[in-house]
Symmetry: C2
Subunit: 261 residues, 2 copies
Amino acid sequence: MKTRIISGLIMAPLLVILYFRGIPLAIAAFLIGAVGIYELFEGFKKIEIHPNIFVAEGMLILLYLLHFLMPGRLACTMLWTVLAIVTSALSIFAIDKHKLEDALATLLGMIYVGLLSYHMVLIDETSYGIMVWMVVIVAFGTDIAAYFTGYFLGKHKLCPNLSPKKTVEGALGGVIGATVLGIIFGLIFKIQIFPQIILMSIIGSVMSQLGDLTASAFKRKMGIKDYGNLIPGHGGILDRFDSVLFAAPAVYYYLQLAIAK
Amino acid sequence: MKTRIISGLIMAPLLVILYFRGIPLAIAAFLIGAVGIYELFEGFKKIEIHPNIFVAEGMLILLYLLHFLMPGRLACTMLWTVLAIVTSALSIFAIDKHKLEDALATLLGMIYVGLLSYHMVLIDETSYGIMVWMVVIVAFGTDIAAYFTGYFLGKHKLCPNLSPKKTVEGALGGVIGATVLGIIFGLIFKIQIFPQIILMSIIGSVMSQLGDLTASAFKRKMGIKDYGNLIPGHGGILDRFDSVLFAAPAVYYYLQLAIAK
């Protein structure tokens, strides 16, 4: 429990970045992407898969260059996704040196870490930029509420093979906790509570938990406990932001498809 | 050589589909995606990777449902791409039964085959729908021109490890042939020849050849010669459409970013 509270405090600088948004947020998202790709690829090396870090980090730089050169063009983000497929294939054209799995892992790094974390920047760019807060509130709110609910009330295991400590009660507590925090956020910023904030919180919280489980599944398969040790004793960037990776797109597409005209 | 000409003739029904566009084109693109995913996954099985075909084909259906329910919304296509990442991760949550590679291959099937072939439908949906012809002209024009140029003039190997028969002369002949065909197309349909058609032909032809080489790289790594035997003696759907997979996005994003206002 102490671990969770301490790493909560370590996240404080994040609040400053969320307050300013714009360039500081883009830099933070870029750095999370860059370090996250590195951590993921180190994990792949443990199982003899060797993705191409130069291709992946180069493509991440291109993603943010496109963002600043042609803001607001979703077609650029789509083009980038297609280029991620193309460049990851190109990365094994020196056919004798690489496995097919190397290309697959390179692609995963670019779109799982790079593209998903970039959704924070995409949210900021909409007319609902304030909703970047929603992502963080829902992702970390879910994490904390699920932990405490599970700790005090947890009885039924959620998925013992994948993540042995998680309980059904904790998962539900996470959704409820995130929704309560979302409603408080909605009240403060005078955002329509029902159905928008409530639905967004529920979807965001479920996605956060799937993000957490996805990271667990990847780490289990790589045979590692944590992605890194960037925050000593508290794991790597990907351990901290695994739920944000899935929560950010959830909030973004909810805004795009259910709210934006 | 006979093979190429015969399979050229077999492609004739495609011309009818391209003439009508709209629903027939969407159905054709969907079927190419569905069969292509199946062929790719059969290839993966040869190297003990077992992607989840139900997830991939289900997601392909979702892609076309979204297309008809919310036409013209690039955000839907982006959302679908994110869901492809999420569902491929979910597909290994039964952690003891699956390898990490299974999830990676599932993801590749969805976005390499499903998303890339869907770009034919995306082109059709723009105000330049006629440009679906450009994709086919450039992709098959490159293939045929490269083959004959290489056959008669080929001296320098392009990438002997990856595709032993390809030559530098053939690659250049492919680009020139595609550009000539593109210009004829542009003249017939009164489309601005320079720089639009010329640039689009060159980029499309290079991408076609990269698409061909990518399919070669994948097949080499899977230890197979062809993806299938759907057209007896002429390989599978993916063998026929490997260059279209890369040419279609090239034409689409060229239209979106260089021509559309």
